[in-house]
């Protein structure tokens, strides 16, 4: 069968399964819709959490990013897994004991304040939409490359599927669909990784394989990659190039941000018991670790394969995948020295970095760009990191069914995360905003209706993000984690561990964390991006890591302000005592 037919088959079967599950498990009550009736087993919840968590960014972009960054890429590996330790130990069991529906629900109740609830809703909606925008772009890329349909058609198909099971099934439908999606995505990630590990090092376990020797030589793969990287003018692959303090802060911001992400936190409301919430976080991390420990191996293999297959190759002899991805617009070649041979090294190939294609072929048949070449270096290739995972099976010349599988896996990753996010958005609007603040008199049935409308509206907005992708997606990811770390995490953590914190302290803390983090990031990312270099940063902390600093500010302000106002009421003390018991 041709690649395209196989891809249609795999994607079609997986979509049919998702829809089948949605019909079987549709939600009957608000309890079902928000927290799946608290009836999800810890293992199923662990898988669903993993699928919820591992987005298009984890599946498609992360390995490519690590391949590009080398050891600096470790911040993502440690940051996006270490957060689960914080979640399991500091938040999940207590929030499960609290037992209500949403993150703003906890904050609003614990700090006995509608204002606190409102601040939490604003942060939550901002964080979640930032995230959704990235998912829809992932769906678009996969559809346009593998199914050869228009990006917009792809996004609309994706929207319809998510619409169907999120609006109909609520949390219950989403949870069981995510279990299926986890199985698809992890299988799709591991199969090519194992294939490539066998090809390069003859070791079937990629986690060990990338520390092994290259077949038929006595050099270790990582040593070889270090050498090749240095030869091409990059940093050594296995050494940090950023400063230790920056690496430290970025990792911390990602960890605390992960623990404060509303769509992840809310998953632990769905299990039957407190002890299940702890166990469930453990399973979730096992399922996540399976992909996250494979990713650095994939990164290493992909980088060496990529260099081997393009470096000093004549363009006319370039492999097919190179030309396919040129058509999609994720790779470009500018022949700086007019020799018809591809040269890959450190530096930007094009002025203005991203290629602006014109409808013409260059001298050797390449897709021409109007960018001027960046003559400060000899690199001739523009490559978008995203293609490392997607093109990896093609680069390694794996069979067609593996490539089709990767397409289905990438879609599973993007759709599962999008659905989870849409649900938190809709729950916070229907439950927190409508029921708890604006229209407290509505019945459960009306609330469920509002929840479905909010989910539908959120899907349409997310789809628009996919069709008209805002150029700022990559920049705002730092924002999402920074805000989660500097607003939501401290409010939840102090709410459980520090009884004396009153509403004045909590609100002041959240607002100062929000302002500090967002103004620092906005300044360096949007207002004066040309100043975004290490020597201008406060204590050498990049905008990506500033969320951790914002969190420290939040803690200090909250504790100081809290002491100037009266203690929280007696009921709050009792409530905290209650959630601290298993």
């Amino acid at each position: 069968m041709s690649l395209q037919a196989l891809t249609y088959l795999f994607v079609g079967i997986s979509f049919a399964v998702y829809i089948g599950i949605a019909i079987w498990s549709r939600a009957q009550s608000t309890n079902d819709f928000y927290i799946a009736g608290k009836g999800v087993s810890p293992i199923a919840n662990g898988m669903a959490t993993a699928a919820d968590w591992m987005s298009a960014a984890s599946f498609i972009s992360m390995a490519g990013l690590i391949a590009f960054l080398g050891k600096d890429g470790s911040v993502y590996l440690m940051g996006w897994t270490g957060g689960y330790v914080l979640l399991a130990l500091l938040l999940a069991p207590y929030l499960r004991k609290f037992g209500k529906y949403t993150v703003p629900d906890f904050i609003g109740t614990r700090y006995y304040s509608k204002a606190a609830r409102l601040v939490a809703i604003i942060c939550l909606i901002f964080i979640s939409f930032t995230y959704v925008a990235g998912q829809m772009r992932g769906v678009g890329i996969v559809f346009s490359r593998f199914l050869e349909v228009d990006i917009n058609t792809g996004v609309i198909i994706g929207m319809c599927i998510v619409f169907f099971y999120a609006v109909l099934g609520g949390m219950k439908g989403i949870t069981y669909t995510q279990v299926a999606q986890y199985c698809v995505l992890i299988f799709a990630y591991l199969v090519p990784a194992i294939f490539i590990s066998l090809m390069i090092t003859n070791n079937p376990i990629p986690q060990i394989g990338f520390g092994d020797k290259v077949i038929g030589s006595s050099t270790y793969l990582l040593d070889k990659l270090d050498q090749v990287s240095l030869d091409l003018g990059f940093n050594a692959y296995t050494e940090y190039s950023k400063s230790n303090i920056d690496i430290f802060f970025i990792t911390a911001a990602l960890m605390f941000g992960t623990a404060g992400l509303p769509h992840v936190v809310v998953r632990f409301f769905t299990v039957p018991k407190v002890s299940d919430a702890r166990k469930s976080a453990g399973y979730a991390l096992v399922f996540i670790a399976l992909l996250y420990t494979t990713a650095p191996a994939v990164a290493t293999f992909a980088k060496i394969n990529f260099i081997n297959s393009v470096q000093e190759v004549e363009y006319k002899q370039a492999p097919n995948w190179f030309k396919n991805w040129e058509d999609i617009g994720l790779i470009a070649w500018k022949d700086k020295n007019n020799d018809g041979i591809i040269n890959y090294s450190n530096g930007n190939a094009l002025e203005g970095v991203k290629p602006n294609y014109i409808d013409k072929e260059g001298d050797y048949g390449e897709r021409a760009t109007i960018n001027n070449p960046d003559l400060s270096n000899s690199n001739e290739i523009y490559i978008d990191n995203d293609i490392m995972v997607l093109a990896n099976p093609e680069i390694a010349q794996l069979p067609n069914w593996v490539i089709a599988l990767v397409a289905a896996g990438a879609l599973a990753a993007a759709l599962s995360t999008a659905a989870g996010l849409l649900l938190v958005i809709s729950a916070s609007i229907s439950h927190d905003l409508m029921k708890k603040i604006l229209m407290p008199k509505i019945t459960e049935k009306q609330e469920l209706f509002f929840a479905r409308c909010a989910a539908a509206a959120a899907i349409i907005i997310a789809g628009l993000f996919g069709i008209y992708p805002p150029g700022f997606v990559a920049q705002v990811v730092a924002f999402a984690f920074g805000l989660a770390a500097s607003t939501i995490f401290p409010a939840l953590f102090l709410g459980i561990f520090y009884k004396r914190l009153n509403k004045e302290g909590a609100i002041a803390g959240m607002i100062s964390g929000l302002i500090a983090t967002s103004s620092y990031i906005t300044y360096f990312k949007f207002i004066s991006p040309q100043l975004n270099i290490a020597k201008n940063w406060l204590f050498g902390i990049s905008p990506e890591g500033f969320g951790f600093f914002g969190m420290i500010i939040n803690f200090c302000i909250a504790l100081i302000v809290s002491n100037f106002y009266s203690k929280p009421p007696k009921e709050i003390y009792q409530m905290i005592d209650e959630i601290r018991k298993p």
Binding site: L77, M78, V85, F248, L285, P582
Partner: protein, 89 residues
């Protein structure tokens, strides 16, 4: 002095979070370069901690926590947990 449930819980957290800190921020970042002098297989040790080891430890930490807390719950709240189980059935 006899510790209550919450105080023991805090000690467990302190102990496990220090391991969490040492394997990631310690071995993976602060002392990573020193550890890189040691090698096992093709991995430099500091590099291994930052891209593999820390994650294995994270998983281990959560399961140790689950084990310790289940024991602690039983010791202090045996009756209420039994009734929760019954309630579930």
């Amino acid at each position: 002095m006899k510790l209550n449930y919450w105080q023991i819980n805090l000690l467990i957290l302190l102990f496990l979070l220090s391991i969490w800190f040492v394997v990631s921020f310690g071995f993976g970042i602060i002392w990573s370069e020193e550890l890189d002098r040691f090698k096992f297989g093709g991995f430099k040790l500091g590099f291994w901690f930052s891209q593999q080891g820390s994650i294995y430890f994270f998983v281990l930490i959560i399961f140790i926590y689950v084990f310790l807390m289940n024991k602690l719950d039983k010791k202090f709240y045996k009756n209420s947990i039994d009734s929760q189980e019954k309630h579930k059935e």
